[in-house]
Structures are given as C-alpha cells and as structure tokens.
C-alpha cells in the first residue's frame, strides 16, 4: 500500500468516524497532523527524477475501458499535497469547540477530495475526488453560511450551478482527450499512458487548441477565471471559515493543477494556438485588472479577500499561458503561496467577525493596539498577498513575470509581453486594497468602541504555522522549487 493511499484514505476515515460519533476535534485534528507528518516524510524521501513518479501504486477497477485506482506524485503534486495537509490542519484546528461536528466531517471530506485530486494519476479518480470535495462545500455554505437562510441558499445554488456546469464542460473535455489519444483502441484514463501517447503521437495543433480551450473553460470555471468568476467572491464571503480556507486555499487549485498536469503535457501546443492564446490572455487580464478594480471598490474585508483571491488566479494563468519552465515553476510556487496566504487571511477574518460581528472597513479601526499579535499575523497574510519580498508569493510572482516576459527566447514583444506589462499593474492594485484594509482595520484610533483581544497561544498555533510556511517558502523558495525538477515541461 502506497503512503499516498493512506494520505487519501485517512481523512475519509476521519470523516466517517466523526459522522458515527467519535470525538470530532480529537479525531479531526489528529488525522490532519498525521497527514501533515506523512506528507513531510514523503517530501524528505522524494527524489526528483525526470519523467518518473514517486510512491506509485495501481489497482485495477475496470478492465476496459481501463480505469485504475492509481496514485503517484511528482514535484507539483507533492507541493500541492503539502499545501493541502498544511491548510487542512490549520482549518480544522481553528474550528471552535461549540461548532457542530459536521464542520469537521465536511472539512475532512474536502481534504480527502483535494488529496485524491492531487495524488491520483488516473483521470477518472482525479476528477471524481474533486467532485467529492465539492458536495460538502455546497452543503456547508447552504446550511452553515454566514447570512440569512435565503441569501446563503442563493449563494450556494449559484456556486453549485457554476461549478456543476464547469465540471460537466471539464468532463466533456477530458472525455474528448481520452478518446483522441486512445485512438480507436482500448480506452485508458491513466495519465502516464496518455502522456506517453501524446509524446509519440501528438494531435494536430489546431485540434489541440480546441480541446485546450474546452479544458480551459472547464478548469477555468473551477478556478474562477474571468468572466466565469462571479460565483467565487460571494461564496467565500458566505462560506463557514474552514470551508472558505479549504476551498480558496486548496480545492480551487485543482483547476490550475489540471491545466498544468493534464492540459499542458497532453496538449503542448494548445495554449500557443493564436486564438486560444489571445482568449486566455484576455481572460487572465480580466482577472487581474477588472477584478482588481472591483476589489478596490469593496467596502468589507470578506469581499476584499474573496475578490482578491479571484484576482490572484490571473498571475497563475499567466504562468500557464507562458508555458516556459521558469513560468510554470513560478506558477506552482504561487499556487502554494496563495493557498497558504489566503487561508491565513480567511482564518483571521473569521475570527474578526466572530469577535466584532462586522467586517465593514468603515466600522473597524485601531485594533492593533489591543491585539498586536493578531495584527502581525494579518500583516503576514496581507503583505504576502501583495507580493512583498521575503514572503512566498513574491518568489512565485517574480518567476511568473520573468518566465512569461522571456518566453519565445525573449526576443519578441508580442501579446504575452504586453500582458505581462499590464499584469504588473495588478501588484499595485493589490497594494492599494490590502494596505488600505490594513490601515482601516488596525491603525488609527478605535473610535467605534469595538474591542478585541489577541488569540490565546493555543489558538495562535495554526495561524503561526501558516505564517511560518509563508516566511520559509519566501526566504528559501528553493526548498520547493528543487522539488519541481520533474515538473512537466512542454
């Protein structure tokens, strides 16, 4: 039995145990800790070998069409697995004791789905695990969201419809891909077999472009690619804190992961077909610039965080659009960094709302004097999100920008380079809304009479864990980048 199978099964078992009445917090936090330990152990043992997966195992589930429960990981899956383990631990740790056990069940199910999606190498299970994670997300938003019943149900339905439709488009694209590469023979969903076939027998470029575009729409909806993004911000603003942390931090990365691990290796020319490239660049600029302006206009912290999370996806799409090794490594690093920073921010915002009952910037102020530790932790998340050097996001963004700008030998100045130039303004926008939010919440005088205190040491631990991850990945990005030597290079 591969260690990866244990990592996938453990949260499922934990969810089942909590469902059957086991002490929720103990089981949930315990299994998350074990999983983080397992992933760290796997990371230390992991040796990057080009074209090979580590910790593989495969069990036949159906002969023809051939479906296997196959797991395995390369650097990209490892980094996302680490991200999942990290955010899951923080998310279940910060669930308050008075919450019903369904909080833990749902969080563990989402974690299991994310682990499965990142660690399975069979398209069938990869897709299936992501769907598995979506259901508890909807249920939690609809049942325990932070709005009155009609409003949160509307938000949940909207997200369900968007993500359900996106999943169907994705299914169609994946099915098409499998059919094309199986070439009239036995169908296989095995990612490695498909990659081998794509290397020996590539499709014509125009067809690659079309399939890539279908996959882009499918995966893109899941990652809130402009203009398919409008479900995301309200869903995050409404979702219970652990669900927002896990979805925005981890699960959403599945779409990007799919583009990097499935679409790019199988359709290497897809993103370079001119019309596909133009469409992708326009959409990602929509993410960065349009949603950037929308974010600046927001007046409450949860809306800012929700929209900023949508906006930052644009940079990762830029890395995918560039497709160079440098840009892709940056994109993977940025996925990790964004996941940790947004999870930290959502956790803090949730705490803020719990204590003060509001997240309206106009009503907050001067909190730093009462809660200095809280303010520092928030600063970590906010500054990471802006892209301050020394925190994880910076390294990722720089690599993406350099990689994208230097694409095509760095001699031309085409649409990609123009996009980089425009996208750089996104960094300024991030600074505008994040610094303003920080100033409004923590500085000035607390004239409104709202008062909050610092979290206790025990409650601080998961937050410190996330902040430390940001700092470590920011100061020593090679720790993660070295794992990516085997990253798929188109």
């Amino acid at each position: 039995m591969s260690i990866l199978e244990i990592v996938i099964l453990l949260p499922l078992l934990a969810a089942l145990a909590v469902c059957l009445g086991a002490p929720a917090r103990l089981v949930s936090v315990g299994s998350a800790m074990v999983n983080l330990g397992l992933m760290l152990g796997a990371a230390t043992k992991f040796k990057a070998v080009a074209g090979e997966l580590a910790f593989t195992s495969s069990r036949v589930v159906l002969d023809n069409p051939s479906i296997n429960f196959a797991v395995g990981m390369d650097g990209t899956s490892l980094i996302l697995g680490l991200l999942t383990a990290l955010v899951t631990l923080a998310a279940v740790w910060q669930i308050a004791d008075d919450r019903p056990p369904i909080y833990h069940t749902a969080s563990q199910l989402i974690a299991a789905g994310a682990f499965g999606a990142f660690l399975c190498t069979d398209l069938f299970f990869l897709y299936a695990f992501h769907e598995l994670a979506l259901i508890p997300t909807f249920l939690m938003i609809a049942l325990h969201g932070r709005a009155d019943e009609a409003a949160r149900k509307a938000v949940a339905w909207k997200a369900t419809l968007y993500l359900g439709a996106g999943s169907l488009v994705l299914l169609a694209g994946l099915g098409w891909l499998v059919l094309e590469y199986s070439g009239g023979q036995k169908l296989t969903f095995d990612l490695n077999a498909l990659r081998a076939m794509a290397a020996t027998n590539p499709l014509p470029a125009e067809k690659q472009g079309i399939i890539f575009f279908v996959l882009l729409l499918g995966f893109g909806t899941l990652v809130s690619l402009f203009p398919l993004h409008s479900w995301a911000a309200p869903a995050y603003a409404t979702a219970p804190v652990p669900v927002a942390m896990l979805h925005a931090g981890v699960l959403k990365k599945f779409g990007l992961y799919g583009l990097i691990q499935i679409a790019l290796p199988l359709l290497p020319q897809g993103p370079h077909v001119p019309w596909v490239q133009k469409a992708l660049l326009l959409m990602l600029l929509g993410n960065i610039l349009v949603v950037g302006f929308v974010t600046i206009a927001q007046k409450s912290l949860d809306r800012i965080l929700g929209n900023s999370s949508v906006m930052h996806m644009g940079y990762i799409f830029l890395g995918i659009a560039a497709g160079t090794e440098l840009a892709l490594r940056g994109a993977v690093l940025l996925m990790f960094a964004h996941g940790v920073s947004i999870a930290l921010l959502f956790a803090l915002a949730g705490r803020l709302r719990n204590q003060l009952g509001t997240l309206e910037l106009a009503k907050l102020g001067g909190l730093a004097s009462h809660a200095p530790v809280f303010a520092i932790l928030f600063a970590f998340g906010a500054f990471a999100s802006i892209g301050l050097p020394g925190l994880a996001n910076f390294a990722g963004e720089v690599l993406v920008f350099l990689g994208a700008f230097g694409a095509e030998g760095g001699t031309t100045f085409g649409p990609l380079q123009w996009t980089v130039v425009l996208a750089l303004w996104g960094v300024v926008m991030s600074a505008v809304y994040m610094l303003r939010a920080y100033r409004d919440i923590f500085q000035g005088s607390a004239t409104t009479g709202l008062f909050m205190n610092d979290p206790s040491l025990f409650q601080r631990l998961p937050l410190i864990l996330l902040a430390a991850a940001l700092l470590i990945a920011g100061c020593c990005p090679w720790l993660l980048l070295d794992l990516l030597k085997t990253a798929p290079v188109p």
């Binding site: 002969d63 069409p65 429960f69 069938f124 695990f129 609809a142 169907l168 036995k186 169908l187």
Partner: protein, 492 residues
C-alpha cells in the same frame, strides 16, 4: 438443477401462496409474507448454484430458451428486485392494511414471484411469441398490483390509467409482432435478423413492424412519447408496486428491447440506420421530458417518477450506441450495466420514502425538513442514493452514465449527447433539492424516527452496493462481459 427448475419453482411458489391465501383463511399474513420472502430468497440461492449450461435444460424447452450471460444477468436481477419489493411490502404493511378491503393483502406476496418467473423467462426468450406471453404474465400481474389498495381513490385512478394504457400498448405490440412476422416470415430473433439481412425483404413493411414493436415496448419502459402515464401511476400505486414498476417492469422491457434491437440492427440489417436513429431520438426526448418537468416537482414520489423516465432515456441511448472495439460491453451489456446501477439507488429512494411514510412523514419536499437531525443514518443513506441518481462520481450512477456517454461519443451522436448532458445537469439540481431539504430547516416534530435492525441492514446493503459499484465497477461488469457478444451472435 437447471435454471428452468428455479423458474418452475417460483411459479409453484406464487400459485401455492395464492391457493393458501384463498383456501385457508386461518393462515396469517405474517406466515404468507415469510413464505414468500423465504421462497424467493431460496430461489435466489438455488439460482446461484444452478447449472447454467443450456444442455441442462429439459429438451422441450431448449428451442425456446437461451442462457447467455445477458439472460443470466437479468434473471439474477429479477430475483434481487423481487426480493427488494417483497421487503418493501413488509415495510408498507401498515399502509396496505389501511387501504385494502378488510386489510387483506396476501396477494401482494403471491403475485411478485409470478412476475419474477415471467421476467426470468423473458430474459431467455428467443422468439417474439415467448416474449409476448411472458410480457403479458408480467403486465397482467401488474394490473392487479397497481390497483390493489383500492380503498384509496389515487390508487384507483392509477389502476385504471395503467390498465387502459397497458392494454393499448399490448395491442400495439401484437400489431407490431404480426407485421414483423408477416414481413420476415419468422418469430425467432435469429430468423428475423436473417430475413432483414436479405435485400429481398420488403423494407417498408419491416420498418412499420419495427416501429409498432418499439412503440409497444416504449410503453412498458416509459419512453417518450409514451411516458405520460408514469407520474400519475407511480404516485398513485402503493410504494412497493411503484418500485416494482420502476425497476422490474423497466428491466423486463429493456431485456426484450435489447433482444429486439439486436435483431433489428444486426450488421447487415436493412433497417439498421433507421432503428438506431429512432432510438437516439426517443432516448434524447425521454431524457428531456423526464428531467425538465422534474425540476418543478415538490412531491418526492413524483420526482422519482420523472427520474425513472429520464433514466429510461439513458437506457435507450445505451441501446442505440452499438458495440465497438474499445468496450468490453456491447450496447445490450451497457444497458444491463446501467440497470444494475439503477436497481440499488431506486430501491433505496423508495425504501426511504416507505420508512418516512410509516412514521407519518409525507413525501413533500417540505416534509423532509430536519430529517438529518431526526434520523441521521436514514438521511445519509438517502443522500448517497440521490447522489448516485444524480450521477456523482464514485457512486454507481456515475459509472452507468459514463459508459452511456462514452458510447455516444464513439458514435458521434452529438445531438443526443447534448440532451443527455442537459438531463444530467438538470439532475444535479433536482436530486440535490431533497438532500438540501433534509439537512436544513427544523423538523415539525423532534421525535426521532426508529429504524428496525432489518431495515438498517437493508439500507446498509443498498448503500454498500452503490459505493462498491461506483468505486469498483468491475464487480458489476464482470458477469456481463460476454453478454454483448453473445447477444449479437445470437442474432446472426
């Protein structure tokens, strides 16, 4: 012991129970129920150990009986479905006692074994004559079962509707059989497909016969445009009967359809393209006409009725997509696989409704409010059942839909595929509504719902079946593997 002996045993069981109920009033219903359940379970065990070679059949049956893997699969299916329905009848005894004259409902236990024998025979049919006789045995029993609890006006309405439309469809079917016989000069599937490969055979006559045949069978499986009766009859009929209609009657219709379509669409058939197109159109229309009205239903029972219609559409599409090299399953195999996934999730849905009704909970969406708190296990099981009906991955329902979709893609049936996808997308909405209802809102009464150990065990078995098929589809695919090829060969 041959398979045929098991079928004879079931007939004797049914007739024996009828006599017992009629002649010895002192025998309690409890005893009859136990005999019926025990007898059917015994038949299942006997079937599992029976000699499945054709040589084991008595000589006089051999010309009319085939025992390919498809036939064996459907025989097992019929037995399991009948057992499930008998169990549901036990669950619903309160309702039946209230709505049957003098509370007598012994025939509810003696008719299902007869229906089961009819379905098992039908699975082995080699000619239209056997098909017709078996189909009538099943349908006539259903006329009685649907109208059984006749003190309720809803039941009477359902009974009359089912009787009239059933009789009409039988007429249409006979007309189709007559035309087919007249044109091909044969009743057997082998003879029909041989005649259709002959360019001398009048094509239009064959088409007319095929159209009537398919229309007649379309009534039985609730294919559009012959599906109108379904919601009313399903809503009115007692729950166990609705389940039987939804699972058993549908499977019976589809096993016959598999045979008929295989004969009509054999490789050199004159009418192959037309029949395939007809099935694609009917399938796509059935999906849309089943799933779009389902969006607006507030009664869970009616919701399941519309769901049953839309599933018939997927099954028709499975039949239309003929076998290719990249499947281990033929179109008939995929159809059987889909029915295999359909059985546990549908029975689960109706079982949940039965339990609720026994506890005085209505079948309106509003009545489900707070069920998650009143009976967490029941709500969890229902959630998985609905997830599977919707076709979420890792449940049985997804595997069935996946195979159907792959077949359609293989045959470039894009329009039908689009309709199927629309139906599936609509399904996500209407199947998740009851789930959401169960977990939100507060119950009208906080009193917990009690589940007997036996009910719990049955629920658990159904949930396990849904997950096992969803995660390890090989378990259902293996017995069907040679099904398609034999079915096609048989028709040559």
């Amino acid at each position: 012991m041959s398979v045929f002996a098991v079928e004879i045993f079931l007939v004797l069981l049914g007739v024996g129970l009828l006599c017992l109920e009629a002649l010895l009033p002192s025998v309690t219903r409890r005893a009859i129920a136990a005999l019926s359940l025990g007898g059917t379970a015994l038949a299942l065990v006997l079937f599992a150990f029976a000699d499945t070679s054709a040589a084991a059949l008595p000589a006089f049956v051999q010309p009319f009986h085939q025992l390919d893997s498809l036939a064996l699969f459907y025989k097992g299916f019929a037995l399991v479905a009948t057992l499930a329905v008998l169990w549901l009848t036990v669950e619903n005894r309160g309702y039946l006692e209230r709505h049957c004259p003098e509370g007598r409902h012994g025939e509810m236990f003696s008719l299902p074994p007869l229906v089961c024998a009819g379905m098992m025979w039908m699975a082995s049919a080699k000619d239209l004559m056997t098909v017709f006789v078996c189909l009538e045995l099943v349908t006539v029993s259903f006329y009685v079962l649907v109208a059984f609890a006749r003190k309720s006006s809803l039941v009477l309405e359902a009974g009359v509707k089912y009787l009239i439309l059933g009789a009409l469809s039988t007429g249409v079917l006979v007309y189709g059989i007559a035309w087919t016989y007249g044109v091909t000069d044969s009743m057997s599937f082998d003879g029909i497909s041989a005649a259709l490969a002959d360019p001398e055979t009048p094509r239009r006559g064959a088409l007319l016969g095929a159209a009537f045949l398919l229309a007649g069978l379309g009534f039985k499986v609730a294919a559009a445009p012959f599906h109108i009766w379904v919601p009313d009859v399903y809503q009115g009929a007692p729950l166990p009967v609705t389940t039987f209609l939804s699972v058993g009657s549908k499977a019976a219709g589809f096993v016959v359809l598999s045979r008929v379509v295989a004969a009509f669409t054999a490789a050199e058939s004159l009418i192959r393209t037309e029949i395939t197109t007809l099935l694609l159109i009917a399938g796509a229309a059935t999906i849309l006409l089943g799933s779009l009205p389902a969006l607006f239903q507030t009664s869970v029972k009616r919701l399941l009725a519309y769901s049953s219609i839309s599933h018939a559409g997927y099954l028709l599409l499975a039949l239309a997509a003929a076998p290719t090299a990249r499947h281990d399953l033929s179109s008939a195999g995929v159809t059987a696989f889909y029915l295999g996934t359909y059985l546990p999730m549908t029975v689960l849905g109706f079982l949940v409704l039965s339990v609720l009704r026994q506890n005085g909970v209505g079948d309106d969406l509003r009545d489900l409010a707070g069920l998650g708190r009143r009976q967490p296990f029941l709500a969890l099981a229902a959630t998985l059942g609905f997830a599977s009906l919707a076709g979420l991955p890792l449940t049985a329902g997804f595997m069935g839909k996946l195979l159907v979709f792959l077949g359609l893609v293989d045959h470039a049936a894009w329009a039908a595929l689009t309709c199927a996808v629309i139906g599936a997308a609509a399904g996500f909405y209407y199947y998740l509504r009851p789930v959401l209802a169960m977990y939100s809102g507060s119950p009208a009464t906080a009193e917990p719902i009690k589940l007997s150990t036996a009910t719990r065990a049955v629920l658990f078995a159904l949930v396990a079946a849904i997950i096992v098929i969803g995660v390890y589809p090989r378990s259902l695919q293996a017995p069907l593997k040679s099904a398609g090829t034999t079915a096609v060969h048989a028709s040559h």
